[in-house]
């Protein structure tokens, strides 16, 4: 059972996740704190847990690494025992039990990490979960965690259409949310990373892929064109109303 309560935004670096009818989209802000930092070949935000589940991280990276390892072990132990992939909620639930234990026993401090999990399993299809340092977790259709997440969540509440959002709608929505919530003025492919999870029922294979720079540029351009068209329409509207006034 997904445990629900009123979640507050945790102030970490932002990311949002959106569930679509035929996939799940995760978008995260890349924070290049210093140009001197060494390039990493892999994503520093999005981690694969097993073939059908990946998650993104908000918070203290060293704490996150420990928990990511634990998530992978949980997945593999289930696979070894039952010879089938672990259900998403099982993995999330087990990890959250560990997180909760650190808030109650031992005199240790809690893990300073929030996760957004996206995955597919044969029981409930596409799923999206969010967990926080308290160990509480919930299932979501669209959510955001981190800096400016309240703004993002309010946009999602207005724009996300339950039962109707397809993958490309979700991608457009993600770009839209980001352009409104990021600190910087202009959205470029270097500042964000987007991962898409899709399951092919015919081959029973799940693919998790990161969008390439070209695809990101196309999406951003599409969004900017839509915005400029809206702006142009609005200006025309304003001109006609002013003319009417005269």
């Amino acid at each position: 059972m997904a445990r629900r309560y009123d979640t507050r935004a945790t102030i970490f670096s932002p990311e949002g996740r959106i569930l679509a009818e035929n996939g799940v989209v995760l978008a995260g802000e890349k924070r290049n704190v210093s140009p001197l930092l060494d390039d990493v070949k892999y994503s520093e935000k999005i981690y694969k847990i097993h073939d059908d589940l990946c998650c993104s991280v908000s918070g203290i990276t060293s704490d996150a690494n420990v928990l990511i390892n634990e998530l992978r072990m949980i997945g593999q132990r289930y696979l070894l025992t039952y010879q089938e992939p672990a259900p998403i909620e099982y993995i999330v639930s087990r990890l959250c039990n560990i997180k909760q234990a650190y808030t109650q026993f031992g005199g240790k401090r809690p893990f300073g990490v929030s996760f957004l999990y996206m995955g597919w399993d044969k029981h409930y299809g596409y799923q999206l979960y969010q967990s926080d340092p308290s160990g509480n977790f919930g299932g979501w259709k669209a959510t955001c965690v981190g800096h400016n997440s309240q703004t993002a969540i309010s946009i999602l509440k207005q724009e996300y259409k339950i039962g109707e959002t397809q993958l490309n709608d979700a991608l457009r929505l993600a770009i839209r949310v980001f352009s409104k919530t990021l600190d910087t003025t202009k959205l470029t492919p270097e500042k964000i990373e987007i991962a898409v999870l899709q399951h092919d029922d015919k081959t029973n294979q799940t693919t998790i892929r990161m969008l390439k720079d070209e695809e990101l540029t196309t999406l951003i351009k599409q969004y900017e064109e839509e915005q400029s068209k809206l702006e142009a329409d609005r200006q025309k509207q304003q001109q006609t109303t002013e003319k009417d006034k005269k």
Partner: protein
């Protein structure tokens, strides 16, 4: 006959090297002593695009070690974000077996692999407590291994192309298992080349 655990279920596997290709083959019999129960029990498992392992011996250990090795290779690939190389796989496997040095798994293993960039070929075998071997041209494990070794040495030529390699491996296996009551009932052959893997099922003497 009951106290020879390695012959309880039967089965055999052979691996051979060619020029920028490797082949591995196994029989399909699953039996309990002299009774044959199934004829679809293959002993070869894939652990990467170009890495294959064959386990021969007690059937329950074949399955368990295959699954436990998969556990470790999955975690390796998740953590390292890259696929396994054959020699790494071999070392992981022998390490796994040695962990049970004083209560061992009853299987002997073969590991084969190919490096798709350089075409370098790997064939290794191991006993049930993880003794490592060199990168050899020919290796066999299982109840009919002695018979297949003889035929393999005869049919092996250095630098065979994939078709010749397939013939050599298949003939060694099929004729070797005919001398052994605990192996046979068909065979599966994997030929691994730089750009593809070909799987062929053979029908030998069905006894």
């Amino acid at each position: 006959m009951g106290d020879d655990i390695m012959n309880y279920n039967g089965g055999v596997a052979v691996a051979m090297k060619g020029k920028e290709c490797v082949a591995i083959a196994c029989d399909k019999r699953y039996g309990v002593q002299n009774k044959t129960i199934a004829t679809n029990f293959t002993k070869i498992y894939q652990y990467g695009d170009y890495c294959f392992v064959a386990f021969c011996g007690l059937a329950t250990d074949v399955q368990t070690v295959a699954q436990r090795l998969k556990f470790r290779t999955n975690l390796y690939e998740l953590r390292e974000q890259r696929k396994l190389k054959p020699n790494v796989l071999y070392n992981m496997l022998t390490n796994l077996l040695y962990e049970r040095r004083f209560g061992p798994y009853f299987i002997f293993t073969l590991v084969i692999g190919l490096d798709p960039k350089t075409g370098e070929t790997f064939v290794y075998d191991s006993d049930n407590i993880g003794a490592v071997s060199d990168n050899v041209n020919l290796a066999t494990v299982g109840t009919a291994s002695d018979y297949i070794f003889g035929l393999g040495e005869l049919f092996f030529k250095p630098n065979m192309n994939p078709d010749e390699l397939f013939e050599a491996t298949s003939q060694s296996l099929l004729n070797g298992v005919d001398r052994d009551s605990a192996s046979g009932w068909g065979a599966v052959v994997y030929v691994v080349e730089k750009d593809k893997v070909t799987v062929r099922e053979l029908k030998g003497r069905q006894d």
